[in-house]
């Protein structure tokens, strides 16, 4: 059960990253390669706030969310908005992710930094397994996000506008939705979210400049399993990837963890290329 808790919390991290990808994807049909790096920056900011500046946790969460939202806003302005060719967005957001990796390395060095967690680091027993408080928080955040966003998108006007935009950009435009502004806001919101969860993610994984790349890949695998744009899919995908990783490294050895996840990705792409929760749409000419 300890293993399962570990796997589930790991999967929750990946799911949270995938949710960030999804928010951007739904609002602007673009894929922000650098989203995982935003989470990484959030973890670093949390480290600085808690360890260097000794600020209270709540304040650190707010600062991290604001700081990363700002980074996301800058990224949108320089690496997404001016790009004419959709093909190039993949290249520019990848560039942004590498840039953030580099800046993080220069600012915080390449040694893993431990981010303290406010609820302590004493494992407790739950359902016959040992689990750390931060792991419970991560799982709870992932579930709450999916439920909350699902609710938000169906009940609020902004949420409905976002869904409409995802369905048909032009139609939304004609209906008076400021598509560009909304897409920008969604992008920044995804950034704020990444900053907010940075503290939790960093507490589990350490803040380290290679975190972004690892999270980006696993987050993508989660997305591929659940299907692009599907929020509930991220929970299923996260669970699958987290457990696979935990079990593979426990029973086969650490070097098999990534391989196991890769095999899941390949299997999903071969059997259901659109993911488990998205129905394949027919192509329109």
């Amino acid at each position: 059960m300890t293993l399962i808790w570990g796997g589930l919390s790991l999967g929750a991290i990946y799911a949270i990253v995938a949710i960030g990808y999804n928010i951007v994807f739904i609002s602007s049909k673009t894929f922000n390669f650098a989203h995982a790096q935003l989470t990484m920056v959030g973890a670093f900011v949390a480290y600085t706030g808690l360890v260097k500046w000794h600020l209270p946790t709540v304040l650190v969460l707010v600062i991290a969310a604001a700081a990363v939202a700002l980074v996301a806003a800058i990224e949108e302005r320089i690496a997404i908005r001016p790009v004419g060719d959709m093909h190039n967005i993949l290249v520019t957001t990848l560039g942004a992710s590498i840039l953030l990796d580099g800046i993080a390395q220069l600012t915080w060095g390449s040694q893993p930094l431990s981010v303290p967690f406010f609820a302590g680091d004493k494992a407790i027993s739950l359902f016959g397994g040992r689990v750390y408080p931060v792991e419970i928080f991560l799982i709870a955040i992932a579930v709450l996000l999916v439920v909350g966003l699902g609710f938000y998108s169906r009940r609020s006007l902004t949420g409905l506008a976002l869904l409409g935009m995802a369905e048909d950009r032009e139609a939304a435009l004609l209906r008076g939705v400021n598509v560009r502004r909304l897409a920008f806001m969604a992008f920044v919101a995804a950034g704020a979210l990444a900053g907010f969860v940075g503290l939790f993610v960093g507490s589990k994984t350490f803040a380290v400049s290679t975190l972004g790349a690892a999270l980006a890949l696993k987050g993508f695998v989660v997305l591929a399993i659940g299907g692009f744009g599907s929020m509930p899919g991220t929970l299923v995908g996260g669970t699958l990837v987290g457990l696979a990783e935990a079990f593979a490294s426990r029973y086969l050895g650490g070097e098999y963890a990534n391989l196991a996840v890769f095999l899941i990705l390949v299997t999903i792409l071969m059997l259901r290329p659109a993911g488990l929760f998205v129905r394949t749409k027919e192509r329109v000419v």
Binding site: F31, F33, I78, A79, P82, V83, G84, D85, H87, N88, I89, L90, V91, T92, L94, G95, A96, S97, I98, L99, L100, D101, G102, I103, Q105, L106, A213, A214, A216, L217, F220, V221, A224, E255, Y256, A257, N258, L259, F262, L265, V266, L269, M270, P273, A274, E282, R283, V284, V285
Partner: protein
Amino acid sequence: MAGLPLARRIAAGPLWLVPLAAGILLILVPYFNLEYSIVRQLQLAMILSLLVSGLNLSLGFAGELALGQVAMYAAGAYTAGMLSQRGHTDIVLQLVAAGVAALLVGILTGIPGLRLGSWSLAMTSFFLVLLLPDVLAIFREDTGGRNGLTGILSPTLFGRMLTPEDYFMVIAIVTVAWFAVMRNIAVSRHGTALRVLKQSPVLAASMGINVFRMKLMAYALGAVPAGLAGALFASLDLYISPEAFSFTVATTILAASVLGGSASVYGAVFGAFILQFGLNQSTEFQRYSLVVTGAFLIIGGVLLTGGLSGLARSLWKRAVGEEPAAAADKDAARPDEVPAVPGKVLKVEGVAKSFGGNQALKGVDLVASPGKVTALIGPNGSGKTTLLNMICGFYRTDAGVIALDDRQLQRMGPDRVARTGVARTFQTPNIPEGITVREAVMAGRYAGHRATVLEAVLRLPRYRKVRRADLAEADRVLDLVGIRHLEDAEATALPLGQRRLLEVARCLISNPGVLLLDETASGLDEDEVERLAEVIRRVRDAGGTVVLVEHNFQLVLSLADEIVALAHGELMAKGTPEEIQNNERVMSEYLGIDPDAPAAPHVVLADVIDGAQEGVER
């Protein structure tokens, strides 16, 4: 302006002489007694340019971002290294084995990676780079794991030991040879087909190109130079370790590709040399390498769409001078005799289709025969375009039969439908960038008349034969549509009317059993409509089967032999132009004319037609 005549003179000669001369110079470098550090940088730059070139095939030509070059590079390096450890030191053997190993990695990872649109290949191949240390660790007995592979022996050629100078020449020769191969692919019909694919997968499929296979070909073929580079690298240092194949290397390759221009052949060399010599030199740079590479990709992606080579090309064009604008003569030579266009019978029976709860088509029948123009009309939302897309195989039918002569089409994918003989044009002409009118038209023959990549690379007789036929046929169909005088112009630069004619020519060159024209007159002025009508008549008289989906009622009346009118996904009326003109339902539902109104019908009709035409020109 003294440079101008020289530039013109060089432009007049065969342009491949320039890179060839540069390549020979490179091979002869060992005779120049250069400093060791420069020679080493040159060797690394050549290896890097091989890697970049492989990426260009996938990113620049097929339009798929891939980061897995490094994994193929590693596959090549470890294959060669392990062969050498076991005493197989012949460099030719190592190169071949490394190339094959890399190709296998390319095919195996490309198949899942290319199943789902653009991001999945990027991510799957990115994952591959991350997996590399793990895989090497799992097989640490053979690969040395994290400690690296030692004990690689000096390379030999036909039993003779190679000196460092010899080995430099080997690297240079392999590099030059690969770029010759790459150039031959890029200027061949395969290069054009890749551009079609990059422009639009829908277009590629409608021209009979299997999108998945084509992308896989580009991606997997790009693995070959990476494998060669790996083998060359293994025998250069006689030591390889996982560190040489890190993610940083992957991003350097990408940066070099973007800098040099992904869609060019020699841009890879520029990009690789600049990064190797300019940036990797200083140790100070190492600290900032990620920041610089990242910034580079952003700037490159935003500003330099064509990379440095694109910039150079536009400067070059300015130096050589604009091509004399092709005289837009309206009375361009038109052939008196039109060769036969053997059409087939297109039969649509009881075809139905629903999207969710919306029944778009409810059992529609249609027959289009050779030597006739069959027009499909109906108000917006009546199912015309849906029907067209079903015929082309972009939508699956829920029920019913679509057949061309005896071949049933309704279960085929769009590329197979196209190869069976269905050719179409698009409402908005769909024409790839950066190719001439002639090339754009010749691409229509790509799927129907095959010559393998190998035949194209080696310029074997079959490739030459197909190429000659491509050229001759292109002349023929360009004559037929009357834009042959524009054959050297850039295809995307043509005005709308001529781009429509170009699309018709591209369809005709594949000798289609049926020609589908999708709102082909919309947005054209009267002259252009008249020319288009003339071409359609000519195709019909030559025996072609033409299906015209059109809003311009006047054009339909003047051209069609038979008109099929749809409304709400059902057949509303069917008949000759006269019959349709007198059909009350068509008049009221499609044209909105009340038959009981006292006004003289033909006056009202003309007004409505103008209105309809305007409505279409958005």
